[in-house]
Every structure is written in structure tokens, then in C-alpha cells.
Symmetry: C2
Subunit: 338 residues, 2 copies
């Protein structure tokens, strides 16, 4: 007998809400029958979108949330005041065990704050990290933490390493994932104070495959599966990844369009090129999980289209099926005392 | 009457030494007669290279330095022990005013340590930052600091901002350069402890064009001319820039070569594409200056070819002509006491 994964989906979050979110939900339930989706948002506008589609009866339900948290609102204030917003309503469903997971393309800040304040941390987890997947030459790597935990301590990074390792192994399917700490050189004596304090602690962890330092230049090569760093560094890596990829692809497009000869060449090469670039797209794997919570919270890109929403829903199913949170709890119980 | 800029060039540093260094030196003196180059290195091997070329008599001189500092050597030990290495001999020439600048493609660590220990800091400069130029959609930006000053304090970052601004304005030629602090969001309340402490200090600087936070995603767009950050973050940005560019170009090449049709297209498009990608190459501007020293020290890429060496020599000329160090000293004297 199969169990059903219940996903609360923020129908109002992101640049393309509610249209792409609703389409993503419909695509998900049309592909799998072990999913129940709650579309959380302004009832009328969600209903209007949903009425365009056919889908298996009972697999999608609308949950009214008349308020919307805007991207620019201060997260803490928004979470406290807008009790009827899609983010607060959806997260409360996870808290009350009415849903297994909450997925949102909305305000990162509100999702991070809501995850901690409403859904709450697993006992023993000090800081829940946000862990997006980034594309590499070999597939994807998990970048942990890119969240709001700036000025993290060494012991937090050790927990990130362990949770990231569990996620990569069981959700993404990488056997014995290589875990590395972001550093500014491969030599043992390099690094800032945090890295120097964290390095020996990670070396002591016998339950992860820790391979030492990774320089930022080797991240795109896929030299490690789990890239551990504190949130400021992680955010810089993630944002630069996005910005530089977009700039470089722009520069290349400009080059391809600069002469008549190159335009003809571009027309011939484009289909193959698009295909290869698609492999360099981490959204295939879903959104960024906020790990270490009593339930799953997934943050997808603000610009998410239906495909990323659908993949994020599937990611929630794998997360539940593989009992990731039980594995995290087990680690917390068994780890040696600090 | 024109003055001559005297550049000590590390003939043994980098992957392509001495061949490309010597070629770069010859190209430089064949283009300008206001340069004197000292090729510092193992005399016989430098002589052998140099004998292939013709160049104006008296503009190149060999200075013997029988020892070589290897890339893997611990920098502090190497600088202390290998007194006859090209790096130590060349830096001593700057210290003793026998040369205006020292250029090396050798060990970054040894260049950074040597710069501080041998050449020495301008009085009042607390930490000399390493400031490479990175390519952007609009040209280049100065990334300051990428050196060895990890765990910098807010007051150091203020000095970086000022020195970077002077360099961009007078050496690169950007009028009233926009200075920004790397942050993880545009909002005032975002950032780690260092950023929160530095931000108000930079806002108070009336002698630079400070524009506030810059997110890593906006760096490649060229949204600021001087990108201020502490060295760990700067190193991550620089290395990721290199690694991701190389990975993306590799992925695109693979795409272009994946089908017969795309191969034909690639052949047609390649010349134009190469031309555009060349604009995305910061080595046109020379190497990374180590600022705030009693003289100029420039670190070029380990993989430097002759062109980058030549450009770095020209950079030294501009640095001297524009009296950058006098401008830095003037700033130190006039700035309000801490």
C-alpha cells in the first residue's frame, strides 16, 4: 500500500504566480497518484486558474489565504502580522501535520523566518540551513548554507555537512557523497578563523565522506557533492553562479549574432547548444530545501515556471519516502556530545 | 622630458617562465622607450631566451637570482630562506628604489608575504589589499581584497574602498568610480557583522562615490567599478569567476560539437564568438596590484602569456605616471583620525 505525500503549495509566491504554480500542481498530480496538493492562496484567483485544467479528482484542494506577503516586506514583521497569508497558512499546515511539506517561490526571507518560527526546528538542530542544488560539469552539488544564518559557528557547519550528506545520498541519489569545506586554498594552514576551527571538527566526523577544502574555482567542476560554507559565502556563490551564467550566455549570444556568417552558424548550432545547456540547469531537481525542520520547507526560484514547481513537489515525495527527517533525528541522537 | 619606469620582472615565476616572461618584456620595450626592465632570474636560462630577440639596447638588463621559490613552498619560510630567489631579489630592488615596480606570475603567497615584509606598507595603511580586475558586461571592475588579509576589520575595508577608487580612476581611467560593498541583499538591515559595521563607515566617506550594497549576482553586470569585500569573500568571487567561466565555455563547446549540424554552425560562428569573448578578458589590463606598499607589486596569473606580462609592465608605467602612491599617502594624511 502506498502512502500519499501531502504538499502545501504557495499559490501566490513568485513572479509567475498563480498561473505557473497552478499549472505545476496540475502537471504533478497528472503524473503521480500518490500526491495530494493544497493550493494555498487567494481562493477566487486560484480557482479561476485551476478551472482551465483537468486532473484527478481529490488530488488538488484549494485552501483560502486572502493575504499576500510581498517580496519587499520585512520578513519578521510580515510573518507576525499576515496570519492569513499563503506562507503562514501553508506553514501552519506543516506544523499541524495537515501537510508533509510546504513549497514556495515567494519571499526568501519570509520562507526562512516562517520555517524557523512556525514549522520549527528538529530538537538538537541549531540552525536550519537553506541548501540549493547548483549545476556542475558532473551533475549537481548541494550548496549548504545559503540561508539567513550569517556569522555561523563551526558546530553549525558540522551539522550542515551531515544534513547535506544525508540529503545528497537519499534524495539526489549520490552514493557516499563527497563533502568539502569552502576554502581559499587547498593547504591545511589556509583559511579564515571559522574555516580553521571547522576543519578539524569535520575531519573527526567518521559518518561523512569528508574530503577537505574546496576552492571556489573547483565547485563548477563538481569536485565535491556537498559544498559546506556559512551563509554569507554560500549566498555569494549562489548569486554569482546565477549572475555570471546569465552574463556569459549573454556575451556568447551577442558573439553569435555579431556577423552574418556567425548568425547562420548560430542557427545551425542552436538546437544542440540548447540541449547541452539544459543539462546545466539545477531546477530539474526541484527547489532548495530548508533542512532540519519538523517537516519540509522548499524554496523555489522567484522566477519558477511550472516545471520547477512540479519537480519541487516530486522532491517532497522523495524526501518523505526516504524518511530524511528520521535520518536527521537519528544523527542528532547518536552524535557525540559537544 | 619623460621619465623612465623601471620594472623588475620575475623571470622565473609562473607556468610559462622564463619563455613568456622574456617575450613579454621584449614586446614591452619594443613598444615603448620609457621603460627599463630588469629580468630577475637564473642568469643562463634568461640569457638563452633573451638571445632570440632584438630589442633596444639598454632597455633590458638581466639580474641574476639563482634560487627559485616553488608554488608549493610555505611563503613565509620561502621568503626568509631564499634570499637569492627572483621574488626576494626583485622586491629588494623596489625596496632600495632601484626599481619602481615588481611584477611576478609566481607563488601568490610568496608575492603577498614579500610585498609586506620586504617592500613594506605605506605608513598608515593597515593591510595591503590584492586587487585584481574582473571582466563585466561593461568592461572591468576592481575586486578588492583578494589577498591574504582574511578576517579583516571594518576600518581595513574603508581603506580598500579608498585605494580601489584611486586605482580605478587614475590607472584604469573610470571617472568618479562607483564603489560598492559585497552583501547578501540590497536591504540596509542585511549582511553579516562585518558588513553591518562597515556600511555606515563607508556612507560617511565623502571622498568616494559609495553606492551601497552589491549582490554577487550584479557583479558580472558591472553595476559597480570597485567591489569591496574582505579577502575570503574576494577570493571566492575571483576563483568562482575563473572556474565557472571555464566550465560554461566547456559546456558550450561540447554543445557546439555534439551534432554534425552544430559542428558546421560552430565553424561558421567561431571567429565572431572568439572576438566577443576576448572582450571578456581582464588580462588586457595587466595583473592584480598589491596596493598600499612603498612601491608597486603586481601579481599576474600563474598561466600568464607574454601579452599579460607586457600589459602588466604598461600598468606599472601608468601607476608611476599617475603618482598613485602619492595619492594614497595624501589620503592617509588627510583622512579623519579613527
Amino acid at each position: 500500500m502506498q502512502s500519499t505525500t501531502r504538499v502545501a503549495l504557495d499559490a501566490m509566491g513568485g513572479d509567475n504566480a498563480p498561473a505557473e504554480v497552478v499549472k505545476g500542481a496540475v502537471d504533478a498530480v497528472n503524473k503521480r497518484d500518490d500526491i495530494k496538493i493544497f493550493l494555498v492562496g487567494q481562493k477566487e484567483s486560484v480557482e479561476r486558474e485551476l478551472s482551465q485544467y483537468t486532473y484527478p479528482d481529490g488530488q488538488i484542494e484549494i485552501v483560502d489565504a486572502p493575504e499576500v506577503i510581498e517580496m519587499a516586506e520585512p520578513p519578521v514583521v510580515a510573518i507576525r502580522r499576515k496570519k492569513q497569508s499563503s506562507i503562514v497558512v501553508g506553514m501552519n499546515m506543516v506544523k499541524n501535520k495537515e501537510a508533509d511539506a510546504f513549497v514556495s517561490a515567494g519571499s526568501s526571507g519570509a520562507v526562512l523566518v516562517g520555517g524557523q518560527v512556525i514549522v520549527g526546528r528538529i530538537k538538537g538542530i541549531q540552525r536550519p540551513p537553506l541548501a540549493p542544488l547548483i549545476p556542475t560539469e558532473r551533475g549537481v552539488s548541494l550548496l549548504i548554507d545559503c540561508g539567513a544564518n550569517v556569522d555561523a559557528r563551526a558546530e553549525h557547519l558540522v551539522q550542515f555537512a551531515k544534513m547535506g550528506s544525508i540529503y545528497m545520498e537519499h534524495v539526489v541519489g549520490v552514493k557516499n557523497p563527497k563533502v568539502a569545506l569552502v576554502n581559499i586554498g587547498a593547504e591545511e594552514e589556509k583559511g579564515n578563523a571559522l574555516v580553521k576551527e571547522t576543519m578539524p571538527l569535520l575531519r573527526e566526523c567518521t559518518d561523512i565522506n569528508f574530503v577537505g577544502s574546496i576552492e571556489a574555482r573547483d565547485i563548477p567542476k563538481g569536485d565535491a557533492d556537498v559544498i559546506v560554507c556559512e551563509a554569507f559565502t554560500g549566498n555569494v556563490i549562489l548569486k554569482l553562479y546565477e549572475g555570471l551564467s546569465s552574463t556569459l550566455i549573454g556575451v556568447i549570444k551577442k558573439g553569435l549574432m555579431s556577423t552574418l556568417k556567425s548568425k547562420i552558424g548560430a542557427a545551425l548550432a542552436l538546437p544542440a547548444l540548447k540541449n547541452t545547456l539544459k543539462s546545466f540547469d539545477a531546477t530539474e531537481y526541484g527547489g532548495a530545501p530548508l533542512l532540519g525542520l519538523n517537516g519540509l520547507v522548499v524554496k523555489t526560484h522567484g522566477s519558477s515556471k511550472a516545471k520547477e514547481i512540479t519537480n519541487s513537489v516530486f522532491q517532497c515525495v522523495t524526501f518523505k519516502e526516504k524518511e530524511i527527517n528520521d535520518k536527521i533525528k537519528e544523527y542528532i541522537i547518536n552524535k557525540p556530545a559537544d
